[in-house]
């Protein structure tokens, strides 16, 4: 019998601090799929904010830290397309002139997957059924979509695992205005973009908004909550793991 694959879970800094429930959902799903999950405590942030700010030196230090923390696992999995994209696409760019680290970055990139596409494409797992009798709409986060090709995987998993009805909004693949530091550097423009997105989401019959990247979801949920919109926001992993029974992101515990 094959031994269980080992998965290093890179929980991402936002999930770690803002929404641990997503981390627990990821562990549950990966274990359900037969993986042995380890959460290395040397992980901090993948370095994307530094990379996108043009601070290459800091990006490389954080990338080396991450590469070292995740040595030896069969797979490295992240509940975020944007952070996974950093490991897969940008770490190799960071070490273009450094053959030793380029090789290590390439090795990590080959083992790294975003959670939902890992479950769907790599493990091709059938998850335990989940009752979630809601109508939901889906926001495709840009990095996952365009850097890693994540589009059908979450929809496939939701359709095969849960009882939810998906009511797609128009322009589901348009940016929500988060953009990492963009949303605090250009808050006015970001606000317009998130309002446009929420208005499209509200035009559907959905009362639940799902996605695969906490940055975007915090932006959407934070704005929806400020506007008092009746929209509960969850990471797809929370729904798939049957852990979306509590409050949505930025929501009150007793809903």
């Amino acid at each position: 019998m094959d031994k269980r694959p080992t998965v290093g879970l890179f929980v991402t800094c936002l999930v770690d601090t803002q929404r641990p429930n997503i981390g627990f959902a990821a562990v549950q799903l990966l274990e359900q799929a037969g993986c042995e999950v380890v959460v290395p405590t040397q992980q901090t942030c993948c370095g994307q904010p530094a990379w996108n700010s043009g601070d290459d030196a800091s990006s490389r230090v954080l990338a080396q830290q991450t590469i070292t923390a995740f040595e030896g696992f069969d797979y490295v999995v992240l509940p975020s397309g944007s952070c996974a994209g950093t490991l897969v696409k940008h770490y190799p760019e960071m070490f273009a002139d450094d053959p030793t680290w380029l090789a290590k970055a390439g090795d990590l990139a080959g083992r790294t997957h975003e959670l939902l596409s890992f479950l769907c494409d790599v493990l091709q797992v059938e998850l335990s059924p989940v009752v979630f009798n809601e109508t939901a709409t889906y926001h495709d986060s840009c990095s996952g979509l365009r850097e890693l090709g994540i589009k059908e995987q979450p929809r496939h998993l939701l359709a095969n695992t849960t009882t939810l009805t998906l009511d797609e909004m128009e322009d589901t693949d348009t940016c929500c205005g988060f953009g990492g530091t963009f949303c605090v550097k250009y808050p006015d423009i970001s606000e317009r973009m998130v309002d446009d997105k929420l208005s499209l989401a509200s035009q559907t019959g959905a009362r639940v908004l799902l996605g695969g990247d906490l940055g975007c979801l915090m932006n959407l949920a934070g704005r929806a909550s400020r506007l008092g919109l009746p929209l509960r926001v969850f990471h797809t992993a929370e729904v798939l793991a049957g852990m979306a029974d509590g409050a949505g992101i930025a929501g009150k515990e007793s809903k």
């Binding site: 405590t41 901090t44 808050p187 949920a221 909550s225």
Partner: protein, 479 residues
């Protein structure tokens, strides 16, 4: 650079644009007008990706051999009886054009739309010597009346509403006998056409841009939807083409390869209404055409771009697809960017042409969502080029002290996992306590840019995921 650059006040420009109701109305049309039409058009071309790949390779080859093809083009133009002028800077280009117009004793000049002409500020330079430039592209004509710069490279007046155009014509066309306000779109076009037709007839010089220069034949390809480029080229005595040096292609076949991509990407048309091949003055036996033909080849930092890590930007053939699909452009419009080129392509080109010091916001005012690169027919990796500008702003310390300090502090903490864990736990405990009733915080001093318009979600846990998970693991292992 004498062009008035307002990119340094991007944030303020953007804030004003967001409050400009007619502008916001006009921007709402982008989605239907460009995005959906493009999608419909390329769906009918199954080999789209193959054409894109071929075009990228062809253009890369041209750029590698740019000197060869430009000299070949020059030779062909001269063989056709035309004159070629080389302009190192945009100012040189402007001076060359003014000289030609003066020698032709020009009173009025009919102008086709040209973004390189905007770089060189041709209109201002002509006006300064008493020559009247008349924009003949409808959009350009509208903004010339409004005394505004273009806000989009293929739809210069996209920021104007029908009502604003009606108002402008009412104000400026009374001299041609217009008495009542025109409210209907078709009638507005007819009105402009009637007034412009007379101006074409009287112009001494025509100035146009060119979409492609064909090295083997010395011809250029000019694409328009209004036919104004053809009239500007053929009716006046003298025709001047102003064009960037990167627009050269080896053969007519190469030009047609790019034509398959251009209109579909730009306006969602399979082909523009007018695609004309021109070059050289009127020959014996020709029924029309100019007596003199000049081409002004403009460098204006393009060779610097070639030598930089932004070289791929020179593949750009100005279709505007990246602009049409940019959500930031869609929110603030083109004027906020503060120079000739807006949107993603502008945020790469403008810093390179007018200096990053004056344009430091442009590469940062982007969410790196990647949609621009996805739709770019020439496969230009716009987000990574913007990131290269960001690296320069970081190295030259052009970002605000506040954001640099925040980044430095954060990165020092993130390099120390133990410190990072402790501080994260502290932050989570504090935030959870603050948000204990609502599940979010409405106001928080250090992140006021976030809480200005959004609530900050709090986790409801007292610890980070990693602390909580590790504690659970230890408990289950010791029991």
């Amino acid at each position: 650079m004498s062009v008035q650059v307002t990119s340094h006040t991007f944030k303020q420009n953007a804030a004003e644009a967001l409050k400009d109701a007619p502008l916001q109305d006009a921007l709402g049309n982008l989605k239907v007008g460009f995005i959906k039409k493009r999608l419909n058009a390329i769906e009918l071309v199954p080999e789209w990706q193959r054409i894109r790949d071929e075009a990228r390779e062809m253009k890369n080859h041209v750029l590698e051999n740019l000197d060869h093809y430009l000299l070949r083009y020059e030779h062909s133009v001269q063989a056709n009886g035309g004159h070629v002028h080389w302009a190192e800077t945009s100012a040189n280009a402007g001076e060359i054009i003014v000289d030609i117009c003066k020698k032709a004793n020009a009173k009025t000049v009919a102008k086709g739309k040209s973004m390189v002409g905007e770089e060189a500020e041709v209109n201002r330079r002509l006006e300064e010597v008493g020559i009247a430039p008349i924009e003949t592209d409808l959009g350009e004509y509208i903004i010339q009346l409004a005394e505004e710069p273009p806000s989009h490279i293929i739809a210069p007046a996209v920021h104007k509403t029908k009502e604003q155009v009606s108002e402008l014509f009412h104000k400026h066309h009374q001299q041609y006998g217009l008495t009542e306000k025109i409210t209907n779109r078709v009638d507005l076009v007819t009105e402009a056409r009637t007034v412009l037709r007379e101006k074409f007839r009287n112009a001494d010089v025509g100035i146009t841009g060119a979409n492609f220069l064909v090295a083997e034949t010395g011809q250029h390809v000019l694409v328009t939807n209004e036919g104004n480029g053809d009239l500007s080229s053929n009716l006046p005595r003298v025709h001047i083409v102003i064009v960037g040096i990167e627009k050269v292609v080896p053969t007519l076949e190469d030009a047609s390869l790019l034509l398959r991509l251009l209109a579909r990407s730009a306006t969602g048309q399979h082909f523009s209404n007018y695609t004309s091949l021109m070059g050289g003055p009127k020959r014996d036996g020709d029924k029309d055409g100019p007596e003199e033909f000049h081409v002004v080849l403009v460098d204006n930092k393009r060779t610097e771009l070639f030598d930089s890590e932004l070289r791929e930007m020179l593949r750009c053939f100005r279709c505007g697809a990246c602009i049409n699909h940019c959500p930031v452009y869609g929110a603030v419009g083109g004027h906020a960017y503060g120079w000739v080129y807006p949107g993603p392509m502008g945020s790469v080109i403008t810093p390179a042409m007018v200096g990053l010091e004056k344009t430091r916001d442009l590469p940062h005012a982007c969410t790196l969502n990647g949609r621009c690169a996805e739709v770019c027919p020439m496969s230009i990796p716009l987000p990574s080029l913007l990131r290269k500008h960001r690296r320069t702003t970081f190295e030259k310390q052009l970002q605000s002290m506040r954001s640099r300090t925040a980044l430095a502090l954060w990165s020092q903490v993130a390099r120390r996992p133990k410190l990072y864990r402790n501080l994260s736990d502290l932050a989570v405990r504090t935030l959870s306590w603050l948000g204990r009733r609502q599940g979010h915080v409405r106001r928080l001093p250090l992140v006021s840019a976030w809480t200005k318009s959004r609530n900050l979600p709090t986790s409801g846990n007292n610890r980070t995921f990693i602390s909580e998970y590790t504690a659970q693991k230890n408990r289950s292992e010791s029991s």
